[in-house]
């Protein structure tokens, strides 16, 4: 325990030193952890990132002014330095000014936010649709009109390692807790509509790189969309508390070029029909037996 503590503390110190030398806000590509929201790989995620940085900088400026005035006052207007208290107690002009200025700042934040929001909620013109169903504790993906459907659960390695006191070295597990048996495969440069629902309790499908987080609710079909620019593997997690294994139902999305995606889809359909055939045969056997 204590040696683990020391090594963790050492790692933290060295990484903080690296982060400090790289500048706190920059994406420290060398470190395995992140300090900031990912920029992501969709137009929307980049807009969201820009909004996030905008409001962050606005807060920094307001903070600098307010805390600056406060700290100056704390240093300069202290009794031990012989400061005598003034006796002003209100000023209508000042009060109107500091009500009006925040109002203007808010408008400047709200307008671009509203623009992005309207874009995010516009699911029209989607080129393909995938139905995502949340279960305790896995995801099901159904490719609409493609006859492809599968479940996606936490990978065996992670599942074994996450058992209490498993003794497994977590560093040896690939993407501990962020790996699944059957990832969602999608094409890049395609507007993909997701239809989300759930079979038991509420779940939420979240992939930070797409700036997509939407609740999957029993009895509801929620819509959202994404259009991914770069092929790659993107990871996220269920974001809505859904019971005992809420922390163990990750989302993994593999984005392939449209050609590679088509090839993958064709292969899936082949496998799927073989599987279906077997299932039908089994059902017939059961029926015959009865």
């Amino acid at each position: 325990m204590s040696s683990a503590f020391m090594s963790r503390a050492g790692a933290l110190m060295s990484k903080l030193a690296i982060a400090a030398s790289l500048g706190m806000v920059s994406q420290a590509a060398t470190a395995e952890y992140a300090l900031n929201m990912p920029v992501g790989v969709t137009e929307i995620s980049r807009e969201v990132y820009d909004l996030h940085m905008l409001v962050f900088y606005v807060c920094c400026v307001i903070g600098a002014v307010v805390f600056g005035a406060m700290i100056y006052s704390i240093i300069a207007h202290r009794k031990s330095k012989g400061a005598k208290a003034a006796n002003f107690h209100h000023s209508t002009v000042v009060e109107i000014v500091w009500t009006a200025i925040p109002f203007v700042i808010l408008m400047a934040l709200a307008l671009p936010a509203a623009k992005t929001l309207v874009k995010m909620e516009n699911t029209r013109g989607a080129e393909m649709s995938i139905k995502v169903t949340g279960y305790q504790w896995k995801w099901q993906y159904e490719y609409i009109d493609e006859d492809v459907s599968f479940y996606s659960t936490l990978s065996q390695d992670s599942n074994f390692a996450r058992q209490k006191n498993s003794g497994v070295d977590l560093e040896s597990v690939d993407n501990y807790l962020l790996d699944v048996d059957n990832p969602l495969v999608v094409p890049t440069d395609t507007k993909i509509r997701l239809l989300l629902t759930a079979a038991d309790v509420i779940h939420a499908w979240w992939v930070p790189d797409f700036a997509v987080k939407k609740d999957a609710i029993p009895g509801y079909i929620n819509e959202t969309w994404m259009q991914i620019d770069e092929p790659g593997t993107y990871r996220g997690q269920c974001a809505e508390l859904c019971g005992r294994d809420h922390g163990f139902m990750p989302v993994v999305v593999i984005a392939k070029t449209p050609e590679e995606y088509q090839a993958w889809l064709a292969a899936q359909k082949g496998a799927e029909s073989a599987l279906n055939g077997a299932a039908i045969a089994t059902e017939q056997n059961v029926a015959l037996a009865q």
């Binding site: 963790r8 503390a9 790692a11 990484k15 903080l16 395995e32 952890y33 929201m37 969201v48 909004l51 409001v55 807060c59 307001i62 903070g63 307010v66 805390f67 406060m70 006052s73 207007h77 009794k79 208290a85 003034a86 002003f88 107690h89 209100h90 009060e95 500091w98 009500t99 109002f103 808010l106 934040l109 709200a110 936010a113 509203a114 929001l117 995010m120 996450r162 209490k164 006191n165 498993s166 977590l170 309790v201 509420i202 939420a204 930070p208 987080k213 939407k214 609740d215 609710i217 029993p218 509801y220 929620n222 974001a239 809505e240 508390l241 019971g243 005992r244 809420h246 922390g247 163990f248």
Partner: protein, 533 residues
């Protein structure tokens, strides 16, 4: 003085335990509320240590994931309903009659009942830990259908929430009736200390929303045991409706926990700046504006449930609007300090810590208000960092400030200043070590309410856990200071206690306060607590 005379003039407390059980004295009840809340803070704090111990390093080491979920759920329920709310009710009991020149609270027997309901409610809630199916584990928000999976704990959970609600409502009614009816002659509403104003507005919020929560949990109960389907989609019900009802309670609840804190800080800063509060009436209007807005922003807690764009836009704009009156408050506090003559005793230190750290929580609140970005922050550790900043260095720091500020007045003994300052500095350092890294965790993609995490989150979780344990241990300094002060170990306090203190309790009453404050109603017609124009 003969015994009979003493009986007539100084009806002192009954000896022993029966004094506390039967008391209708606002100071006794105030003390009981505060002691109860301290006990609940310790219980809730221990639960948070279970959480932080499990999150100390990646991998599951100590508890089952289900028990972990029970801990997050119970931690929230204990801290919100058992810690913060009773603490402020305790302060309201202790202070409002004194500050207004009233003999006691208006409804003393109801006051007694309101308090003694609480130990029963929380005893019952705590007992669910030992029931079949364990303690509630669906989160304190109790979202169905997940909360329908609660075991035997369900009816006890619902009943304890009903009791907490009844207790809160009795407290709120008492505050309103006392403030509106028992002010001494001359104590106009606009002369009241801000603590009374913020509590008056808080009391209306409580009366408005606690029944809403009671209704929501009652529907959960009938859904589970009596075959209704209010929130079950399979029976034509709507699980999202629960969230709307819950947050219609839940958002004003946030202000129930912070408005009295604003009141406390608005009284402490002028004392130690030796300068009148800047913009008294704008403080009152800002409080009322925040309370009004708190009713029309609830859906910002649920932007990801899939609402129409128009609704999302409305709730975004309304939420952002709250930062205007909140900003007014912060600016007024800074303007009060400006060109004052400041000293930095412990209550002032906690108040200054409050202003800075609460404002940081306010900034992350503004970020969260922006709907498109909220989709990224929602249900991540960023949210955990946000609400802990407004609740711990926010509400809880204001409670520390209040206790250090009024304790000498209550007990007649000055607390130990060195220990108080040490408590402040260690608390401030560790609270930031505890919660600041959680912003990074959330931005990097760590969801809240998970018992284990992938390795890129290890460093900041480690740091956060170290901060949690250190913060908890630091509180023993406070506990020691509190107990020794109550026992009169340190110097005697003067009647005014603080050089710059203004108000009925400081200028007209002795320290410690007598068991019955005003034998005769004071006349406050000539009393000018602050310039009115």
């Amino acid at each position: 003085m003969s015994h009979a005379e003493a009986h007539d003039h100084h009806h002192g407390p009954e000896p022993g335990f029966m004094r506390w059980l039967k008391t209708t004295n606002h100071k006794d009840l105030g003390a009981l509320y505060l002691m109860f809340s301290l006990a609940m803070f310790i219980v809730g704090g221990l639960m948070s240590l279970v959480i932080r111990a499990e999150l100390f390093t990646p991998g599951m080491q100590f508890v089952d994931p289900q028990f972990f979920n029970s801990m997050t759920t119970m931690h929230a329920l204990f801290m919100i309903f058992g810690g913060v709310m009773p603490a402020f009710t305790g302060l309201s009991n202790y202070l409002i009659p004194i500050q207004l020149g009233a003999p006691d609270m208006a409804l003393p027997r109801i006051n007694n009942m309101g308090f003694w309901i609480l130990p029963i409610a929380f005893g019952m809630l705590l007992s669910t830990l030992f029931m079949d199916g364990g303690a509630p584990a669906g989160g304190w928000t109790l979202y169905p259908p997940l909360s329908m999976q609660t075991g035997d704990a369900m009816p006890f959970l619902v009943f304890s929430i009903h009791l907490m609600g009844i207790s809160s409502i009795t407290g709120a009614i008492n505050v309103i009736v006392t403030i509106l009816n028992l002010r001494a002659p001359g104590m106009d509403l606009m002369k009241m200390p801000l603590f009374c104003w913020t509590w008056l507005i808080t009391a209306f919020l409580l009366i408005a929303v606690m029944p809403v929560l009671a209704g929501a949990v009652t529907m959960l109960l009938t859904d589970k045991y009596f075959g209704t389907t209010f929130f079950a989609a399979a029976g034509g019900g709507d699980p999202v409706m629960f969230q709307h009802i819950f947050w219609f309670f839940g958002h004003p609840e946030v202000y129930i926990m912070i408005l009295p804190a604003f009141g406390v800080v608005s009284q402490i800063i002028p004392t130690f700046a030796r300068k009148t509060l800047f913009g008294y009436s704008s403080m009152v209007y800002a409080t009322a504006a925040i309370a009004f807005l708190s009713f029309i922003v609830w859906a910002h807690h649920m932007f990801t449930v899939g609402m129409p764009v128009a609704a999302e836009l409305f709730f975004m704009f309304a939420t952002m609007l709250i930062s205007v009156p909140t900003g007014v408050k912060v600016f007024n506090w800074v303007a009060t300090m400006w060109r004052g003559s400041m000293t930095f005793e412990t209550p002032m230190l906690f108040s200054l810590g409050f202003v800075i750290l609460f404002t940081i929580g306010g900034f992350s609140g503004l970020m969260l208000a922006m709907t498109p970005v909220d989709f990224q922050y929602h249900d991540s550790y960023f949210v955990v960092a946000h609400f802990h900043y407004v609740l711990v260095p926010g509400a809880v720091f204001s409670l520390f400030a209040a206790v250090y500020y009024w304790l000498p007045k209550w007990t007649g003994t000055m607390y130990n200043e060195k220990l108080g300052k040490l408590h402040f500095w260690l608390s401030t350092i560790f609270i930031n070590v505890l919660f600041f890294p959680q912003h990074f965790l959330g931005l990097a993609g760590m969801p809240r309410r998970i018992p284990d995490y992938s390795l890129q989150f290890a460093e900041f979780n480690f740091m956060s856990s170290v901060g949690a344990f250190a913060f908890f241990i630091t509180q023993f300094i406070f506990l020691y200071n509190l107990i020794t002060t109550c026992r009169g170990k340190w110097e005697k306090a003067t009647d005014q206690v603080w050089e710059g203190a203004k108000g009925v309790e400081w200028e007209m009453l002795p320290s410690p306060l007598p068991y019955h404050t005003f034998e005769q109603q004071p006349d406050l017609s000539d009393y000018e607590p602050h310039p009115t124009h």
